[in-house]
């Protein structure tokens, strides 16, 4: 049942990745435009509600299936893959923490029916990139109306999303770490752009800064404290899905290098081929990356089952999923660079079947989206007290 629907989802998404996302990828990258064709096709395949539980009208897909979709899309268009991944992170987080709240249940039903796209507004100017702190706060406007205004340095696909999932302080007197998540729907939020999105890579995610102003009902605030949601779902699921996108990017760069070497070998059978040796070292690097990404997913699944979600709250678990992000974001660009060295000038060119410039540029975002320096700083503090390796 679940397995069967997972299979259908995977087949649909793999087809969309190859036939739609891949075709538009260079155009999306060149013009820094939203990958609208891929997202429209994913909507038509009901993939945006794949992670909504079946009883709420969704596909009930497992995290494994969603992760695999991120990988398939990542191979074809990193921007489409990252938009898909970020949307799924919000959906999975809501589904895991709604705790029977009627408003959120009916929201997920609506998301499934209308294939609504959700973006997140977690970063904020003035917090130094710390997602665990907010400056913006929920204010009480009038009876049953709440509001906030938040200055976000980046909101991925903000202008293209239907709804927004935003972190804010619980109330105006709350400490910076006393946060809640608010789900505002289209019509309730106004986004004032504060700049352009013209970047080295991940150009199609269209993630400029915005001042976000929203007015909404109190029941649109998720009851679960953000610190719990962050440790049990948002951070580990983000790191798992992002790393699957990155693995897809690295795999495609490697496959282009492999195709290049094979074509060279066919032209001069039997002659020494230095590029083949270099390809072998890139493959070793890719193998390490693939193992860590797969292991991260497996560890989450067993943590989630074994100790309930309590185990995900431990420092050992926080360290584990931080290390997945660190490893995947550092190895992915290395694989892409290695592929470029194998291919040489044909890889450096922005056209042709062996071009890997886009992959390399996209992969360089991995270390910056939640800066690795910040994660290392967190890990360094946790290592002082955590005991397991």
């Amino acid at each position: 049942m679940a397995v069967e629907s997972d299979r259908t989802l995977l087949a649909d998404v793999a087809r969309i990745a190859a036939e739609v996302a891949a075709q538009a990828a260079d155009d999306v990258d060149r013009d820094a435009r939203f990958p609208i064709e891929a997202i429209t096709a994913l909507r038509e395949a009901h993939a945006l509600s794949a992670a909504v539980p079946e009883e709420l009208g969704g596909g009930g897909a497992t995290l494994e299936a969603i992760a695999r979709c991120c990988f398939e899309l990542g191979r074809c268009c990193s921007s489409a893959a990252m938009v898909f991944a970020m949307h799924q992170i919000q959906v999975i987080t809501i589904a895991r923490h709604l705790d029977g709240a009627p408003w959120f249940e009916s929201y997920l039903r609506r998301l499934a029916t209308e294939q609504r796209l959700v973006a997140s507004v977690t970063s904020e100017i003035g917090t130094g990139g710390d997602m665990g702190r907010s400056i913006a706060a929920v204010t009480e406007e009038e009876h049953d109306v709440r509001a906030f205004e938040k200055k976000a340095p980046t909101v991925s696909y903000g202008a293209h999303a239907d709804d927004l999932f935003t972190t804010v302080r619980r109330h105006v007197d709350a400490e910076p770490g006393d946060q809640v998540l608010v789900l505002s729907t289209s019509g309730q939020a106004e986004l004032e752009p504060t700049g352009e999105w013209n970047t080295l890579g991940m150009r199609g995610t269209c993630s400029p800064g915005f001042i976000v102003r929203a007015r909404f009902a109190p029941e649109q605030i998720l009851a679960a404290p953000f610190s719990t949601v962050m440790n049990q779902s948002l951070v580990p699921v983000s790191h798992i899905l992002w790393s699957h996108v990155w693995l897809g990017v690295a795999t495609e760069a490697f496959e282009r290098a492999r195709a290049f070497v094979r074509s060279s070998a066919r032209q001069r059978p039997g002659e020494p081929l230095p590029a083949a040796h270099r390809l072998s070292t890139v493959m070793a690097e890719l193998t390490l990356l693939r193992s860590e990404v797969a292991q991260g997913l497996q560890d989450f699944a067993s943590d989630d089952e074994d100790g309930g979600r309590e185990r995900l709250m431990t420092m050992a678990s926080i360290l584990r999923f931080n290390n997945l992000k660190l490893a995947a974001s550092e190895h992915t660009p290395r694989v892409c660079e290695g592929a470029l060295e194998v291919i040489g000038i044909l890889g450096y060119r922005n056209d042709g079947p062996y071009s890997v410039g886009r992959h390399l540029r996209d992969s360089l975002s991995a270390r910056l989206m939640v800066a690795n320096e910040r994660i290392h700083a967190t890990d360094a503090a946790l290592l002082l007290i955590a005991k397991e390796a």
Partner: protein, 92 residues
């Protein structure tokens, strides 16, 4: 005994939790994170508690919930010092 434990915990909290309010104004079950303790400060608090009470919190206890109030900390220390057998049974 319990009073002594609580006052010693309060002393360590006052020194290391970097709250935005005086710990004396907080009840034993007040949320320390809501009172301004950051994740970073909570690590220092845990280290200071290990030193003050001469014990080691096992990984399964290293969660936000175990250190979010004076009462929660007292319960954790009580579990480690009083009922050692119970804490060993849960090791994964």
């Amino acid at each position: 005994m319990s009073d002594e434990l609580h006052s010693e915990i309060r002393r360590v909290v006052a020194e290391h939790a970097r709250l935005s309010v005086d710990v004396a104004t907080l009840a034993d079950d007040s949320d320390l994170f809501a009172a301004g303790m950051t994740s970073h400060a909570s690590v220092n608090l845990m280290l200071a508690l290990e030193d003050a009470f001469d014990l080691e919190f096992p990984d399964r206890m290293l969660t936000r919930g175990v250190f979010d109030s004076v009462n929660a900390i007292a319960a954790a220390i009580g579990e480690l010092t009083g009922v050692a057998a119970a804490s060993n049974g849960h090791q994964s």
